[in-house]
């Protein structure tokens, strides 16, 4: 079982996985959250959601996440898949979810997910990671924070260098904006219930607070 690491309130924490990932050959479990393929979701999703089940959808690299746009408000999570870590299509999938489709729920990296990708994943809007390499939340926090600055705007809330350069200098120690202390989900009631349900069992990583937080639109200073 891969470790589920979640980025919440700017912190990487280990979280209990409350979703069963269902392949197209498996029967759908009778209770609890499930992550389905896009095809299976299109067939069974409505019924499961009507039963109040939390549902996530796995997006394979070749699939168009735009096809899911109308269903996004009902989904607990979307899981762009990395069949191989070198397959970078899921980064575009995540970026589109955040930047264009306005999805505020969990975007979970599944498949060949390694801590070396933490920086790219977080910047493209992933907020949960099924780490396949046995890595820890501390290692993810470190890998995601390798660079003090970033050159381009992305789906996270880090300020691009060109915005930093426009801004008046900040007082020492305030290089990153403080994350808002509230739940970053917004993908509907199912999402909220599952995310909150996961919290008591989760161990908080002892990482300093950063702005690698979730999807709310970036705060643009001075731009």
């Amino acid at each position: 079982m891969p470790t589920l690491i979640r980025l919440q309130d700017g912190q990487f924490v280990e979280a209990e996985n409350l979703f069963t990932s269902v392949t197209d050959e498996d029967p759908i479990p009778t209770d609890g959250g499930v992550i389905l393929s896009l095809a299976r979701f299109q067939t069974y999703g409505a019924a499961l959601l009507d039963d109040g089940r939390p549902v996530g959808v796995r997006i394979e690299p070749a699939e168009r996440v735009e096809d899911l746009a109308y269903d996004l408000p009902r989904l607990a999570l979307v899981a762009p898949a990395f069949p191989k870590f070198r397959d970078g299509r899921a980064y575009s999938t995540a970026a589109l979810l955040r930047e264009r489709l306005g999805f505020r729920g969990e975007v979970r990296a599944v498949g060949d997910v390694l801590r070396e990708q933490a920086y790219e994943m977080v910047r493209c809007g992933f907020t949960a990671f099924e780490a396949a390499d046995g890595s820890t939340p501390e290692q993810w926090a470190k890998a995601a924070r390798v660079f003090r600055h970033v050159y381009q705007a992305a789906a996270d809330e880090r300020e691009a260098a060109f915005v930093e350069r426009l801004s008046p200098p900040l007082p020492p120690g305030l290089g990153f904006a403080e994350p808002e202390d509230k739940l970053r989900g917004g993908g509907g009631a199912a999402q909220r219930a599952v995310t909150e349900g996961a919290r008591p069992g989760a161990t908080k990583a002892d990482a300093p607070s950063t702005a690698f937080g979730g999807p709310p639109p970036p705060l643009r200073r001075g731009g």
């Binding site: 070198r86 070396e116 600055h149 050159y151 060109f162």
Partner: protein, 554 residues
């Protein structure tokens, strides 16, 4: 404009990267990481494992070096390599004899002068190249380098475009005469103004070499310059999503553009671009101005257009006159010139430069060229801003260090990849073939008589030696364990871009120079007034050349 000065943010990016790589190397040396796990990490830092040792490829952003940077490269080659470096067709430099344990120290040394090995390998956006005469030639519409710097920053650690289907190369040109081979790139950008005078780019996409060469079609005639980055992002996103990943040889964007057709590809890019939050991606005017300002201004002197010292020496010294004729080009400012340093002394390895030579060139740059050195995609160096008065002194110093070969764009100015002498991918050697041809045509009168003739040699089908766009292209192939060479004619990477056509069956190594000799003789006997080799070939076609080369076959 001078050279872009890094601010604290630019410097911090390099420091952070060097620190990260140091930690990764430590994990590899301690055994915590296996070679398999380490490979993608080292490749992201330009460190390849080649036939004999590690090779470190250092980026030279848009081919511009300061004297201090070149001196650092010399220092690195002395301390950590065998005292030389190899300038590549991507205007980078490679060190071929690196020890893994030294790599972090090298990156630290490089970072101190604003150099790095970021994105010099891997399936990401590579070093952007531009006209080596940028800021010096009167031909250009505007200086392309601020746009190259904007692309450099935008593409550095771009989170969405770090795991593309394949590597991705961008060239920016601003002159009618294209010295960047723009159409042979994944994206070629040509700076232009529209009828209203607005600055913009012609956008060409889907060119490339490799085993399937293409010239990139234009998908947009005039993109307003301020939208450059968002438009690039749209192209990259379409490519990242739709480019093939099932076959490494069909993964470049040229294959996607060819299979969709330029029109449909362009339509998808426009649709993506229309939906994009451009304001979040494009640099605001203030930042564009800051970048331009960070290049500084060059304080050119007001000089007469001619120089007595230059004219006198030309009249007295045939060797100097020849150098001036072939390697020195007009500058936009009166009294200045562009000096080309061909790393192509016949008999030497194309693109190789010793530490002592690098130091000497750095000193020449500091003293005579506003501390500015350029690297060209033809593996040569340029001193872009030399006073005519100083040309004799520069020539004398270049002669002392063995780099005054007066052969720019002549038959012995050959591009060659490292080939089987170094590269694990190669099928055949490229360097000895280049050396042999250059020595055969070393006689400068004869070389000048032949005129512009670009020979480009690749040791394998990946075409790092750009043989597809050589007037004469030579490709090394392996035939049952023996090195053979396939000759192509009629390619060009310039504004009259074309892909070379294969002449006939591959030849064994000892026959290659003879074949080039035959091609040259055929050209000389049929050329009309003012024709280059390429022009004659285009006029009379391949048949006369083919008959001559294969006359004694069978």
């Amino acid at each position: 404009m001078g050279i872009y000065q890094y601010d604290t943010i630019d410097a911090a990016m390099l420091e952070d990267r060097a620190a990260e790589f140091r930690a990764q190397v430590a994990r590899r040396l301690s055994g915590e990481l296996t070679e398999d796990q380490f490979k993608p990490l080292r490749l992201m830092n330009g460190l390849y494992l080649q036939l004999h040792a590690y090779m470190l490829r250092v980026a030279i952003p848009y081919g511009t070096l300061s004297g201090a940077q070149l001196r650092t490269l010399a220092d690195v080659s002395r301390r950590f390599d065998k005292g030389y470096g190899h300038f590549t067709t991507r205007t980078n430099i490679q060190f071929h004899w690196i020890k893994l344990k030294d790599a972090p120290d090298i990156l630290d040394a490089l970072a101190k002068v604003g150099l790095h090995a970021i994105q010099t390998s891997g399936n990401c956006i590579r070093n952007t190249t531009t006209d080596p005469y940028a800021g010096a030639t009167a031909e250009e519409l505007d200086d392309p380098r601020p746009w190259c710097e904007a692309i450099r920053q935008w593409s550095t650690f771009h989170p969405e475009f770090t795991y593309l289907p394949r590597k991705f190369k961008i060239a920016v040109t601003a002159s009618a005469k294209d010295r960047t081979a723009a159409r042979a790139h994944d994206i070629g950008l040509k700076l232009r103004r529209n009828r209203d005078g607005e600055l913009g780019f012609e956008v060409m996409v889907g060119g490339g070499m490799g085993r399937t060469p293409y010239l990139g079609p234009t998908i947009r005639e005039h993109l307003p310059a301020r939208h450059l980055l968002s438009y690039l992002a749209a192209i990259l996103r379409v490519y990242n999503r739709l480019g093939r990943r099932d076959n490494i040889y069909k993964a470049r964007i040229k294959i996607l553009v060819a299979s969709l057709g330029a029109e449909e590809f362009g339509r998808q890019v426009e649709a993506e671009w229309a939906a994009m939050d451009r304001a979040a991606v494009d640099l605001p005017d203030e930042e564009l101005a800051r970048i331009r300002g960070a290049f500084g201004l060059i304080d050119f002197e007001t000089l007469p257009p001619t120089s007595a010292a230059f004219e006198v020496r030309k009249a007295q010294d045939l060797a100097f006159a020849r150098f001036a004729r072939n390697n020195v080009l007009p500058h936009k400012k009166a009294g200045y010139a562009i000096v080309n340093i061909a790393l192509k002394t016949p008999g030497e390895v194309p693109g190789d430069c010793s530490a002592d030579q690098m130091d000497a060139i750095a000193d020449l740059a500091t003293r005579y060229s506003f501390d500015d050195v350029r690297v060209t995609h033809a593996q040569n160096l340029v001193l872009p801003h030399v006073k005519l008065d100083d040309l004799p002194a520069v020539f004398d110093r270049l002669s002392e260090i063995g780099l005054a070969a007066p052969n720019l764009d002549l038959i012995s100015d050959i591009i060659a990849c490292p080939g089987l002498d170094y590269c694990a991918l190669a099928n055949a050697r490229a360097i000895p073939i280049a050396q042999h041809i250059a020595e055969r045509f070393a006689e400068p009168d004869r070389a000048e008589h032949i005129g512009e003739l670009k020979i480009k040699i690749s040791g394998c089908i990946n075409a790092c030696g750009h043989h597809h766009v050589g007037h004469i292209g030579i490709l090394g192939v392996d035939k049952k364990g023996e090195e053979f060479y396939q000759i192509s004619l009629g390619g060009s990477g310039a504004e009259d871009a074309s892909i070379a056509a294969i002449l006939g069956p591959a030849l064994p190594a000892p026959k290659v120079t003879e074949a080039v000799e035959t091609l040259v003789e055929t050209y000389l006997s049929t050329r009309q007034e003012g024709e280059r080799f390429l022009d004659t070939y285009r006029r009379i076609g391949a048949a006369p050349f083919k008959e001559a080369v294969y006359a004694d076959a069978d």
